[in-house]
Amino acid sequence: MRRPHEITVSIGGGRALDRAGLAALLASLPGFHVIPQDNDPPPQVLVWATYTDSMELPLLKSGTKLLLLTETTTEDSLPDAVHGLFSREETTSALAIAIRQIARGEQYLSPTLATAILEKRQSKSRRASPEMSLVDELTEREREIVDLLAQGLSNKLIASKLYLSVRTVEGHLANIYLRLGVHSRTEAMLMAMKVR
């Protein structure tokens, strides 16, 4: 029986044993309700396990956010329709935080994957950029948040470091995106990593 505050999650992709393991893990954590992928209504978050030899993505139903569980990425940005890239190297509690973050409409990018994306981008373009001056225009608190964003921290970890609520951090992030002229967490994170 699903409680009203719980986030509905489905597991897909990968191998049957991975899916069973992930489903059991999420069912043991507070605040998640694991449902079948073809459930009506659809899940709020679909966790999709991928491997380097198979990057096939599922068709998403309206309202479902996609979190890719992966080892590496060959992309130079977060792929379209993907709301989060989660590295298999991260911890169980980080997976719970990532699912909550994308369920609220935010993006999630594991630090190692963000670094891989940034390296990919830098090899494509070496020209000077105006990021530094844009970051200088941020308030002290916003700069603190940008610095933690550049370390690849989730909103929860940023909030914990600054002793603020996750909602407050997300409010600051919305202002930061506006001031930096970026449209997503990935762009802001990559810009922040460049100016570090």
Binding site: R3, H5, L29, P30, G31, T92, S93, A96, I97, R100, K156, A159, S160, Y163, L164, S165, V166, R167, T168, G171
Partner: protein
């Protein structure tokens, strides 16, 4: 931006009473936090210990219940304890005062058997009982011990108020050992312009 007024709830926990022979299932505390999903959880751990990731000196409910649930939810733990000392650390170590405190401990144990769930621990009956036994116990402490306990509660209240001032308009749950409640409630009510205090069920 005008944030709504902060909502604050106090949740009394058994804390060092868990050292008594009767142990409660800490899962109920975990369920309360997971279901209330407060934005911030002020807990009795020092900032230094929390930042070092060393909660070994914290109470059993922080180690085994609150810290694990905080790790997998969006609630942020705010360490508000000025020192690691708890109620029982202020008790006299020997003499007739020590023996009398031990007798009051047996009262506590009896109360703990009666109030066997969070609703009861935070209800008016156990509240009045805990208040009376704690007041009587505190009278057996030395003047220095009483002053140190009062000062610790004042600093704890100030840390809670600073947390709210730093991040207004949020839902804040304060989980502290029940022996502190009769000190903390009046100290926090003095700041009712900053937040509304309510029962944890209504957060």
């Amino acid at each position: 931006m005008n944030n709504p007024k902060t909502r604050l709830a106090l949740l009394g926990t058994m804390s060092d009473l868990h050292k008594q022979p009767i142990c409660y299932d800490l899962a109920c505390l975990q369920n309360i936090v997971a279901e209330l999903a407060p934005d911030l959880l002020c807990a009795e751990v020092t900032r230094e210990a929390w930042e070092q990731g060393d909660i070994s000196q914290s109470s059993v409910e922080i180690r085994e219940s609150l810290a694990p649930v905080i790790a997998v939810t969006d609630t942020v733990l705010i360490p508000v304890a000025p020192t690691p000392q708890q109620f029982s650390d202020f008790a006299p170590r020997d003499g007739w005062r020590y023996r009398l405190v031990k007798m009051f401990d047996r009262f506590f144990r009896w109360g703990q058997i009666q109030a066997n769930n969070p609703e009861a621990v935070n209800g008016p009956w156990f509240g009045a009982f805990c208040h009376t036994v704690c007041m009587a116990t505190e009278l057996l402490w030395s003047a220095e011990q009483r002053a140190a306990w009062e000062n610790q509660n004042k600093q704890l209240a100030e840390n809670i108020v600073h947390t709210i001032q730093r991040d207004t308009g949020r839902r804040v749950l304060v989980a502290v050992q029940c022996q502190r409640l009769h000190h903390l409630i009046p100290l926090l009510r003095a700041h009712s312009d900053l937040f509304d205090i309510m029962g944890y069920q209504y957060l």
